[in-house]
Every structure is written in structure tokens, then in C-alpha cells.
Amino acid sequence: MSEHASSEDAAAGRTSTGPGRALVAVYAVFAIAATARSVYQLVVKADEAPVAYALSALAGVVYVLATYALATDRHRLAVGAVLFELVGVLGVGLLTLLDGGLFPDATVWSDFGAGYGYVPLVLPFVGLWWLHRTRGPA
């Protein structure tokens, strides 16, 4: 679908309109999901898996930042947040495969986001593609 986006969908520097609108919606969902999950985990059972819960919180912050940056056309902030997200999902995904004991409880990024239909793995690539398309004088 997104391949058919016409050139006017990607007004230079605008990350919040056209396909970006739908992308911001996906990011908003994950911002809420990751943040709510970490708040719940930290409030209810912080001592069970502090590393995993701290990571959930970090993931939440990153998604909130990415959502905010994309929605308000802050291109450079968006690139930073999405890159961090990419490193996060790849790093945590790899760590959960290598040493499951590190994460006794799941986070959004565990097993490359398998618990969320691998959307967390695909999302940063879509995000970077979109940021690449909308690059220009911001």
C-alpha cells in the first residue's frame, strides 16, 4: 500500500501527514502499550524482574519520544528515537535468545517483539524508511 503513496504524500520535512499519520498511530499504540506495561510491572511487582521492567520503561520512553517527534515533524529527534528503538529491539531480542535468565519476565522487545506479532521489529525499519522519504529542510 505504502509503495503507491504519491509524491505529495511525502511533503518535505513533514513526518506527520500522509502515510506518516498512520505510522504515528502505530507508534502511539506502542507508546501506550510499553509505558502502561512498565508502570504496571514496576508498581505491582518491581522486585520480580527489575532488569526487564526497567527495559520496559526505557522502551516506553523511546516510543513516546518517537511518537512525539513524528507527530510534530521533529525529524532529527525522530531519527534518534527510531535508531535507538532499532538497537533496542535487536539487542534485547538477541539477549533473550542467548540468555533467557536475564529476562524472567517479558518486555515489548523480548524475542524480537514476538509477543506483539513482531511489529516492534518491523516498526523501526518502516520508521527509518519514512524518515528517509521525508528528509529535507525541516
Partner: protein, 121 residues
């Protein structure tokens, strides 16, 4: 909340999502039929939510109540929020926002079932 109800509602959300996606693909504006479809889904969600709350109050099983209620509130907020925010986007991607929200509703229904049955978290 039974499997049939949860998966039934999830399926309904998926169907409306597909309907919304046809708008996105054809670059069709957000029209009345889609509005009615989302409204019907929202009504069903509200009814099942109330039923779910009654069941939560009556059950003697150990259901994670706070989690259950907060998931429900998220589910019923999503469709109207997506419609409002989607209409503001004039391109085809306005209905894309609705697609995203409804897919999320379907996913959350499955997760709600897990919370209700105690198989999740």
C-alpha cells in the same frame, strides 16, 4: 467472558478493519457506511465491557482486576479516538489510522481473554 465472545468481537473488529482498509487502498473518503460499521463495533464493545465488568464482580476466581479494567477502557477508547484523529487527515491515510486502531482492538481482545482466564501476566 468466553472464548466465543472474545474471538467473536476480535473477528468483528478485524472485519471492520478490512472494510476501513478498502477505503485506504481505494483512496475513498471516510463515509457513512464505515462510520456506522465502527459505531456498531463500538456498541458491541461497550455492551461486552459492561458484561465483562459484571462477570468480574461476580467471579470468585483470582482475576487481575486492575489490568482487566484498564485494558477494557483502552479498547473502548480506541475506535472513537481513531475516527476523530483519522478524519482530521484528509489523505487516504486517515482511514489508515482507523485500520491501525481496529487491528489493535482485535489484538487487545485476545489479550483480555488471556487476562480473564489468568493465562496472561
Amino acid at each position: 467472558m468466553t472464548d466465543t465472545i472474545a474471538y467473536g468481537v476480535a473477528l468483528l473488529a478485524l472485519l471492520v478493519a478490512v472494510f476501513a482498509a478498502t477505503h485506504t487502498v481505494r483512496d475513498a473518503p471516510f463515509g457513512n457506511p464505515l462510520f456506522y460499521a465502527v459505531s456498531v463495533l463500538e456498541l458491541v464493545l461497550l455492551v461486552v465491557m459492561v458484561g465483562g465488568f459484571v462477570a468480574l464482580a461476580q467471579t470468585d476466581r483470582d482475576v487481575s482486576g486492575g489490568l482487566y479494567v484498564s485494558y477494557w477502557l483502552t479498547v473502548v477508547v480506541l475506535p472513537p479516538a481513531a475516527v476523530l484523529w483519522g478524519i482530521a487527515e484528509k489523505s487516504r491515510w486517515g482511514t489508515g489510522v482507523v485500520v491501525v486502531a481496529l487491528l489493535t482492538v482485535a489484538a487487545l481482545m485476545v489479550r483480555l481473554l488471556g487476562i480473564w482466564k489468568g493465562t496472561y501476566v
